[in-house]
């Protein structure tokens, strides 16, 4: 490696172009004897050739990962298959279950709607509002002449509210009341307390469990949490909000969350659980887009991103690091 960067020989972009050609050849098929010789002598001629060749190979490999995520997100916009039969309530007249796309017709108003794991339901209400129910969640819809009431019993739901100032739209969850004024927002009953995230417009928050003396307004890209430790508000950006509501489209999106937290999200929708035994691995930052409930795809992607392996143990997919993985 004595050469350093010499003053003239060839330009960097040309070297990269040749390196790309070699990287494709060697990645996609076995090289012929003559080709191998040619490659070897090209690599030996200048250390920069080796550097460019390594770069091209690594890029081609990296494109795999990104292409897999990208291809998955773009080519499979369809929601996870739902084979379960809708639990009919006596009053629910005509319900079709869809995650994205057409909405459910819903003309009876006192019905309770619940979802199991790995399903997301979209319910169209008579006034044009839409409720999307996350996995393992339940709501009760009680429309009256002068008020539209929805009670979130458990889990998480998103609301796209049709504007009607004569007939307020109020969601209650564990003693927290969220009043919408023509808007889109998400309410979830989390371990930490009731969480309200506003996507569009404004909501007013009140209720005995909100911890508030007077109603407070929460706006677009803001989040309110009625935590046991007291109410708090967080500013999110639109990317974060989008990520948090990706479940509505049947997707889970991670962009730098810890792998352990990501696995917990995945497990929320899947009977097959992803377990990470290695604490270092659980702290690693992870990115990817997955269909809800596809624990296997998640485990495999995580394994390939962190040079690990997936072992099946009963109902679990256990993620472990390869013995020879680099120490990072």
């Amino acid at each position: 490696m004595e050469k350093g960067v010499s003053a003239s020989s060839g330009n960097g972009a040309d070297i990269d172009a040749r390196a790309s050609a070699w990287a494709i050849r060697s990645a996609e098929r076995a090289l012929g004897e003559q080709e191998q010789k040619e490659l070897d002598s090209w690599l030996a001629a200048d250390s920069r050739h080796l550097g460019a060749y390594v770069r091209a190979q690594a890029l081609w490999l990296d494109l795999d990962r990104v292409a897999a995520l990208d291809g998955g997100a773009r080519r499979n916009p369809s929601p996870p298959a739902r084979k379960r039969v809708w639990r009919r309530y006596a009053m629910a007249a005509s319900l079709a279950v869809v995650v994205a796309g057409g909405a459910v017709a819903y003309d009876q108003l006192a019905g309770r709607v619940a979802t199991g794991r790995s399903e997301v339901r979209r319910i169209a209400l008579e006034d044009g509002s839409i409720v999307t129910l996350n996995g393992n969640s339940a709501v009760q819809i009680r429309y009256e002449d002068d008020i539209r009431r929805v009670v979130l019993r458990r889990g998480e739901a998103s609301f796209e509210v049709a504007h009607n100032s004569e007939r307020p739209f109020v969601v209650s969850a564990d003693g927290v009341k969220v009043r919408a004024v023509g808007t889109e927002f998400v309410v979830g009953i989390e371990d930490d307390g009731v969480e309200v995230t506003v996507e569009e417009g404004v909501v007013a928050i009140a209720g005995r469990a909100s911890g508030l003396a007077a109603p407070r307004y929460i706006r677009r890209n803001e989040q309110f949490v009625a935590a046991a430790t007291g109410p708090r508000k967080a500013m999110l950006d639109s990317v974060d909000v989008e990520r948090r509501i990706a479940w509505r489209k049947g997707l889970l999106v991670f962009n730098g969350q810890r792998l352990g937290d990501a696995a917990a999200e995945v497990n929320r929708y899947s009977d097959l659980r992803v377990t990470i035994d290695d604490p270092t691995l659980a702290r690693a930052e992870f990115m990817g887009v997955f269909k809800l409930g596809d624990a296997r795809a998640f485990a495999n992607a995580a394994a390939s991103a962190f040079n690990g392996e997936v072992h099946r143990r009963g109902n679990e997919l256990v993620l472990v690091r390869q013995q020879n993985s680099p120490s990072h």
Binding site: A13, E28, L50, L59, A67
Partner: protein
């Protein structure tokens, strides 16, 4: 580490630093017309590849120090060099400084960027690339599918990689303020 594991390490731990390294180099090399950014990166990668990867604790720091070293060799080789460049090289404490600021691009930004780059590929080239990467077709199947020779498929793929590789050299828009989006909490009384 075998060849495959090493390449994965490179893809995961080294490549993400490249846009920043290039930007840094472009600023340093202005006075040196005999030495271009591509070449310094290539030389640095060659040294990183032959180094003992297990012993490299901090890839970014190692990469910067190696690159700085290469530039230094070049500076010593040239007869006439602006004084401030030499001073700059010695005074620079890139490692501490840059380590804190550095954030990896978020997954969505990376996807969006790749998406854009792929849109700019010539149609045949892009088709071959997508069949290869998205559909996992073999070269032979791509050739049959597109009605072209296998060697042409290979040329298309090589071109796709070359164009992506050139496009990836440009620093992405989001890299500059790549600090983690912080959520600000405050309490209500």
């Amino acid at each position: 580490m075998d060849h495959g594991a090493r390449l994965r390490w490179f893809a995961r731990d080294v490549l993400p630093h490249e846009p920043d390294l290039r930007k840094w180099l472009a600023g340093r090399l202005r006075g040196l017309d005999s030495c271009d950014v591509d070449e310094v990166v290539q030389e640095a990668y060659a040294r990183l590849w032959t180094a003992d990867a297990e012993a490299i604790r901090n890839t970014r720091a190692y990469l910067y120090v190696t690159a700085r070293h290469i530039v230094g060799e070049q500076v010593r080789r040239s007869r006439i060099v602006a004084i401030d460049l030499v001073a700059d090289l010695d005074a620079l404490n890139i490692v501490d400084e840059e380590m804190n600021v550095h954030r990896r691009l978020s997954g969505q930004e990376e996807l969006a960027r790749l998406h854009e780059i792929l849109q700019t590929l010539p149609p045949k080239c892009r088709e071959a690339f997508e069949l290869k990467k998205f559909q996992d077709f073999s070269q032979r199947r791509i050739a049959e599918h597109m009605g072209i020779a296998e060697s042409t498929v290979e040329k298309h793929l090589a071109k796709a990689l070359r164009l992506v590789s050139e496009a990836m050299k440009q620093a992405p828009a989001g890299a500059e303020n790549g600090k983690r989006r912080e959520r600000k909490f405050w309490k209500w009384g």
